[in-house]
């Protein structure tokens, strides 16, 4: 078990390293002087031509890509993301503040989405193929088709303008997060409902279930102990992926509701060519993906240790 954990950790580190290499390659291959790019990425507002020359010598550009990469990577590994070229302030604190808006929203949206899709899926599977089934799946499909900005605006129009129940924009209070969470949740529901539905149907058709019924185990127990755990497996994967997507910031929703978030952070940084912010955001998002996936893999090992082994 411990060996497996380290294996997964190693894999995660490998992904992170790959991300770092790709990010750095973009810097390196950007038009212009790579030494300048690195200097900008590292010191930005404080860059001077002398500094650029120093970097050029220090890294030794005849040695090329990998030594420059290492030079660039070192401060990042200790969490020193440098300073923004726009504001001159340290990047990391700003990033963390932004994240503190995104994380609760993402978790809320995921929870709402999960609940809605589980309810829809259970209704759908009461009579597979029946009208309720088609209806529930239909709702999910419609949800996938509805663009977030359209729905967001609609919700604002209804609940904020018309009924004045909820605030329209900003992120001041928790109730400011309700409408954005609902908007995001619809996308989550669209993705999860079908997965949960087929997970339940597959779990119900496992070959050993009749034997349990014949043994006298109650339908409730069978449902709880033998169908739900099996159906949960695909749900966990997709939930994890959805969470990762939500955490990296749903830009549309952030813009509509005028909320700060990782998505807008990244877009603005790219727009302003603010390298330190861009690379910080990219690395944090990659980190989120890796950690979420690590958790998913660990949960799998607990539920069904055969997953991932060669001869299951």
């Amino acid at each position: 078990m411990r060996g497996l954990f380290f294996g997964l950790l190693f894999r995660g580190l490998f992904v992170l390293t790959g991300t770092a290499v790709v990010t750095f390659s973009l810097l390196w291959n950007a038009p212009g002087d790579p030494a300048l790019s690195i200097a900008l990425a590292r010191f930005d507002a404080l860059v001077t031509p002398d500094l650029v020359e120093e970097i050029r010598k220090e890294v030794g550009f005849d040695q090329g890509f990998w030594s420059a990469f290492w030079y660039w990577l070192q401060p990042l590994m200790v969490g020193d993301f440098g300073n923004s070229s726009v504001t001159g302030r340290a990047v990391l604190p700003d990033l963390l503040v932004t994240a503190s808006y995104t994380v609760p929203l993402a978790l809320t949206a995921l929870c709402i989405g999960l609940v809605m899709s589980i309810v829809l899926a259970i209704f759908a599977t009461k009579k597979p193929g029946g009208w309720l089934d088609r209806f529930a799946v239909g709702i999910a499909s419609v949800g996938a088709a509805i663009p977030a900005y359209w729905l967001g605006l609609l919700l604002i129009l209804l609940f904020a303008v018309h009924l004045s129940w909820l605030p329209a924009m900003g992120a001041r209070t928790p109730s400011h997060a309700i409408l954005p969470a609902l908007t995001l949740a619809l996308g989550v529901t669209a993705a999860l409902t079908r997965i949960i539905r087929s997970g339940i149907l597959e779990a119900r058709s496992q070959s050993f279930l009749p034997a349990f019924r014949r043994r006298g185990v109650s339908d409730k127990s069978i449902e709880r102990a033998h169908i739900v755990p099996h159906a949960a497996i695909p749900v966990i994967t997709v939930s994890g992926l959805e969470l990762a997507f939500l955490l990296e910031g749903a830009v549309m929703v952030e813009v509509i509701f005028s909320r700060p978030g990782l998505g807008t952070f990244l877009i603005n940084a790219i727009d302003a060519r603010d390298f330190p912010q861009v690379q910080a955001a990219v690395i944090v998002i990659a980190l989120v993906f890796v950690i979420v996936n690590l958790f998913i893999d660990l949960i799998y090992q607990y539920i069904d240790p055969r997953i991932g082994k060669q001869d299951a």
């Binding site: 050993f208 014949r214 043994r215 102990a225 099996h230 539920i303």
Partner: protein, 227 residues
């Protein structure tokens, strides 16, 4: 206590798989149900257990392979406790040990998932679960086909020994007449959804009357073939 059922039948998409059948099981009876594939014998086994359970009897059914009886996501001790609850018996540690001992799975690690055990042990575990609470009837559906011969022979021997002084009746369903004849004293031959012959093992082996029985009897083993 003698068990009786009547009117066992089964249809699928309009076709009759099992014609109305009645069966009686005396305590301690050893009965074989033999037929070619498609004769309806497995169906009879399923309908039989469903009906008897609905009548409130304590009966058990052991499927052909442990894959069809155990949930790979759950531990074996969970399976056992669940079975105890299902059969309305208290947790009896001693009884469990006796059963495990008789079926040669004593001392095995119950905290594991089914696939950690060998198939033979899994199958014997399923049989042990079936014997919780001492059912009036245990139905075995092709109990040896998923196992190696040495393990299979061993398992049947252990089961027969365990049942030898108990009132539990046994129904042995198989396509192999030679195999069945080694373990039962009465044989029912099934053909196309009906029981066409029902007699003692000796009679079926030596003087089969129906076509189906004759065919099964002449093919009962490899070394006495008329070729």
């Amino acid at each position: 206590m003698t068990l009786s059922v009547s009117g066992l039948t089964s249809t699928r998409s309009g076709r009759t798989i099992l014609y109305p059948t009645s069966l009686t099981f005396e305590p301690g009876a050893r009965i074989g149900l033999v037929g070619s594939s498609g004769s309806g014998k497995s169906t009879l086994g399923h309908v039989l257990i469903d009906t008897l359970r609905a009548q409130g009897e304590l009966v058990a059914h052991v499927p052909q392979s442990p894959d069809e009886a155990l949930d790979p996501l759950r531990r074996l001790d969970f399976h056992w406790r669940e079975a105890e609850v299902a059969m309305n018996t208290e947790h009896d540690r001693q009884k469990q040990e006796k059963l495990f001992d008789a079926l040669h799975i004593k001392g095995a690690d119950l905290t594991k998932r089914p696939w950690s055990w060998s198939r033979g042990m899994q199958q014997r575990f399923v049989i042990a679960m079936a014997l919780i609470g001492t059912p009036s009837l245990i139905i075995l559906d092709e109990p040896t086909s998923a196992l190696d011969p040495v393990v299979a022979a061993d398992t049947m021997k252990l089961l027969q020994e365990y049942l030898s002084h108990k009132n539990t009746a046994m129904l042995f369903i198989t396509h192999d007449l030679g195999l069945a004849s080694k373990h039962v004293d009465r044989l029912m031959v099934m053909h196309e959804g009906k029981i066409v012959e029902d007699a003692t093992t000796q009679d079926i082996l030596q003087t089969p009357k129906t076509e189906a029985a004759k065919l099964l009897s002449s093919h009962k083993s490899w070394l006495s073939l008329p070729c």
